[in-house]
């Protein structure tokens, strides 16, 4: 019995969402009185032993360069084999793009119950029940996993990373790596930007900004805050912003520490994708905008005046601090 955590990497670096998964998995192991181990696939440049500080004692590594791209089928077979070999009874993923591709396949392969989009530690007082978001963030469900082996994928930004002391033993793992049936012909990574689902701060714009040529003030604010940028659906539909920035019920669901909504009315479908944010700030010239009901802080005012002032005020605060 052990907990196996899948460590997702991109270009050799372990993703932030995986540090959350590691902390979570280590806490699950503590709860169950067992050990937590990690598995990492592909070439990693980082010092993996240092991941011990998140609570894992051992890391299985399959440093086969063929695994540098995520192939759901190949990954699932490698991770399932490793889980079975190491006697894992709980397998933890981040519910990020990789987790969405792979966790379900692993679950089906091992006939293991899956909770996708978990947001809290399991409750083991009576069975094994995991809280997850449902109805696009409008509610939570407590889901019982009935099978012996359990798969959990953890929502990004919903479990706090805790680093303490410790080093992990890194062991090369011999497993079968099949030839992928999917051939990757091009990879286009948006560099220099914070990935939306991992961002601590998200600055988001709506139709109130009137057109793509006005996004400069929003980008300046985002840059000052080190924030990712997002938008409402009509903005994505009108191609003012790339469609992967569209948040909401039918777009990306985010849960940052701080969500700043600029010129967004706060339609129920938009709120569904952002209401798990810890702090919401709304800037809208209409005092009746529904978004204010879901906000923690608000300014009723013209975005074109308020936003540049806000950027300047933050600059000033930082300079003073």
């Amino acid at each position: 019995m052990s907990v196996l955590i899948f460590i997702d990497q991109s270009e050799g670096h372990v993703k932030k969402s995986s540090l959350e998964a590691l902390t979570y998995g280590a806490d699950v192991a503590k709860q169950l009185g067992t050990t937590a181990e990690g598995i990492v696939l592909g070439t990693v440049t980082e010092d993996l032993t240092a991941l011990g500080k998140y609570g894992v004692s051992k890391i299985h590594q399959v440093s086969n360069a063929a695994l540098n791209n995520v192939d759901a089928q190949v990954y699932a077979s490698v991770i399932s084999e490793a889980a079975t070999a190491s006697g894992a009874t709980v397998i933890v993923f981040s519910h990020n793009q990789t987790g969405k591709a792979v966790a379900a396949r692993v679950a089906a392969k091992l006939k293991a119950g899956l909770v996708a989009g978990a947001c809290a530690l399991p409750n083991t007082s009576n069975g094994f029940s995991v809280k997850k978001t449902v109805f696009s963030g409008k509610a939570y469900a407590h889901v019982n996993i009935l099978s012996a082996v359990k798969v959990i994928s953890l929502n990004p930004n919903s479990y706090k990373t805790v680093a303490t002391e410790g080093t992990a033993v890194v062991e090369a793992l011999a497993v079968t790596v099949n030839e992928p049936k999917v051939k990757i012909t091009a990879v286009n990574k948006i560099t220099g930007e914070v990935p939306l689902t991992e961002a601590d701060i998200v600055v988001s714009g709506g139709r109130g900004l009137k057109g793509p040529e006005h996004w400069g003030i929003l980008l300046d604010l985002a840059k000052e805050l080190g924030a990712a940028t997002a938008c409402s659906r009509p903005v994505g539909d009108a191609h003012w912003r790339p469609h992967h920035e569209h948040v909401g019920q039918t777009g990306v669901q985010v849960a940052p520490n701080l969500y700043i909504a600029i010129g967004i009315s706060g339609a129920i479908q938009h709120l569904a994708g952002v209401n798990r944010s810890k702090v919401i700030v709304v800037i809208n010239k209409d005092p009746e905008a529904p978004f204010f009901k879901a906000a923690d802080y608000g300014i009723v005012g013209d975005a074109f005046e308020v936003v540049p002032q806000l950027t300047a005020a933050i600059q000033k605060m930082k300079a003073g601090a």
Partner: protein
């Protein structure tokens, strides 16, 4: 070429989310049901476009659900598709549902299976991956573009922090999202035609559900908004820094 499109019934996006029976059941009172938007706008419409380009193709829709799902599947047939299959059960475990779809898929010998990226009620994003595993096909998750050249598909899919272009030989399972196609509105001819399209009801195969929902919970209500005057943004910055500790 045979395409299987997975269609699921979800509450309308404006539905009030509430629970009954001691928070163990979703309160369906007054709820309008719709086709899960990802299934409708992206996977179904893209499948229809593929058939328009290749009229010899057939499209089957599949839903796993009880008789209440029939109006939804007729609505989907009004957009397009040749026939529909309903697996008669209301079990909601993802593995159970995927196993039913996989069974139909194996018997039908489909070249292409489309699902939506997720359902807007349970947000699992898991059916596609599970079906792919059960039918032993490659899986392209979160696809934003899909083109066919003979029996080779070229797909663009979302990855962490970007996108990736891939080639894969059919058969393949694809989960679809924004970018794949544009939403369509059914026309009168489609609605009339849908009435007479075959809708086969099949009984589920025996599979053990691996999860069950124990209860639901609503998030705590917000305390209320603190408004700051537009000429006093410094105060907002102070609040965010000192009170909310968010910056």
């Amino acid at each position: 070429m045979k395409i299987l499109v997975c269609v699921s019934k979800t509450p309308d996006t404006t539905s009030k989310i509430a629970f009954t029976d001691g928070n163990t059941k979703f309160d369906e009172a007054g709820v309008q049901w719709i086709i899960n938007p990802y299934d409708e706008w992206y996977s179904l419409v893209r499948a229809i476009e593929l058939k328009e380009a290749n009229p010899a193709a057939t499209i089957h829709l599949i839903t796993v659900g009880n008789a209440d799902a029939e109006p939804i599947i007729r609505k989907a047939l009004a957009l397009g598709g040749d026939e529909a299959i309903r697996v008669n059960t209301d079990n909601s475990d993802a593995y159970y549902i995927a196993a039913q779809i996989a069974e139909v898929a194996k018997q039908g010998g489909y070249d292409l299976i489309f699902t939506g990226k997720e359902t807007i009620d349970y947000n699992g994003s898991s059916i596609g991956g599970m079906v792919a595993e059960l039918v032993d096909s490659p899986y392209i998750s979160l696809a934003t573009k899909f083109d066919l050249n003979g029996t080779t598909a070229t797909v663009v899919r979302e990855i962490d922090g970007g996108e990736e272009t891939a080639e894969v030989a059919l058969p393949v399972v694809v989960s679809c999202q924004k970018g794949m196609a544009e939403q369509r509105i059914p026309n009168m001819r489609g609605i009339m035609a849908a009435r007479t399209k075959p809708l086969k009801v099949v009984e589920p195969i025996a599979v053990d559900a691996l999860t069950s929902i124990q209860s639901f919970e609503l998030p705590p209500a917000k305390a209320g908004v603190k408004l700051v005057a537009p000429d006093n943004v410094a105060e907002l910055v102070r609040l965010l820094h000192e009170e909310a500790k968010a910056i």
